[in-house]
Symmetry: D2
Subunit: 136 residues, 4 copies
């Protein structure tokens, strides 16, 4: 069971990240599923979704999966993000990010985020992400 | 000598990336220097600049350094970006990105981007970035 | 179905990598499973398996999964390897590496390797790996 | 000034890593320079030095630069290593690794290692590396 619900995490995001466009779809043990509605502002030459859009999605998916476990530690910060862009995303499909936390230590959390164009089985990007957890 | 000038790269960015906020300050052999004017939209809880802002800066610095070498290959795409967030950036300072390309092959270019808060010597983030170069 | 069998890959490894200690356990579509029998030469202070032992295992797992798909392209070379060390491996257990290739393009292959201490469910390390495929 | 001298670090390596082949050439503030004498056991098909040889060199360079700063904390462990293989190393030249630590925090140290074939200016590989520092 997660420490925070989708509703609580949504409230937190609205308050703390007012410009955020990413939607939290579900949260469960050490995992999250997020969505970004893709529009023209996310596209880049070639009609593909920009890399930074996918990096933001990966980072937010991990942040939410982590807060779901440890509670509203707003000052948890990314220390490392590594992303492989694998295939060209569809320009007309939302992007979905699925995060799984591999390790949840006292100091560090490490996880992966798989990114998909909605409805298409093959991954478009794969990220691994490390967060530093503040002492509470 | 770069194949493209700062002026030519600025024109290309205005045309192809109309929402881009990053400014190209200089371009030289296998390198670039870029700036993002930090405003409240880039901040996150704790008064620090968000990770995605720095990831975008790194990715764009590498893209511009690469186009400076190979010309307007708009379809050059990032295949990998790895970023370490090292220190909390200043919330009231612009971020500066300095890119150096390590390798410029036929298929792949690999480089690093060092990110600084303007006027402060210690790096705030370090990225390595790989681009795939389309066949021309 | 793989292009090369376990037997053919073992012969290739014996011939081309005579010092190799890694055992290929199975190969299937875009995946491999490898083992390294851990002995005192792989240990480091604290009684844990050294990082380089795990990096070698990850690299070899990906190489074999790739050759299983594309045939004996000995000159396929690693261009990037990123590894997260997650938990302390058991000093008395073999390490198992399980590779899945995410992308098999003409120029590049990208995959992940999950590393386990035999018989223990939690991952000890997670690697992502990119190989450059020579033109044949 | 480093907390540990080259001599002290060499003694520590002989004692704790008896199979180690890497030579520490110098140590200074937040940096180290190491060498591995390349022999046939490090080569792989194509007459190039194997990836794991370079990964080991990077990891050891960072470990020694770190111990040079914090003293003989043998249980400092790598949490992440990311390496880009940039050019084919010379098969008949030693490899040199030059480490610079970007950040030396209480919990984590982050640095880079540039790897060269001796006498050749262009880098053959570039690694970034994170160590977790035990509480002392």
């Amino acid at each position: 069971m997660s420490l925070m619900t989708v509703k609580e995490l949504e409230d937190l995001m609205r308050r703390e990240f007012p410009q955020n466009q990413i939607i939290l779809e579900s949260i469960s043990s050490r995992s999250s599923r997020v969505r970004i509605p893709v529009n023209h502002s996310h596209l880049r030459p070639g009609g593909t979704v920009s890399g930074p859009t996918m990096m933001s999605l990966a980072d937010m998916a991990m942040y939410l999966a982590l807060l779901g476990e440890i509670g509203p530690e707003l000052l948890a910060v990314t220390t490392n993000l590594n992303i492989h862009f694998i295939r060209k995303p569809e320009s007309a499909q939302d992007l979905i990010g699925v995060c799984n936390i591999f390790k949840l230590g006292k100091k560090l959390a490490v996880g992966e985020v798989k990114i998909f164009s909605e409805g298409i089985e093959e991954m478009v990007a794969h990220a691994t992400c490390t967060y530093s957890i503040p002492k509470s």
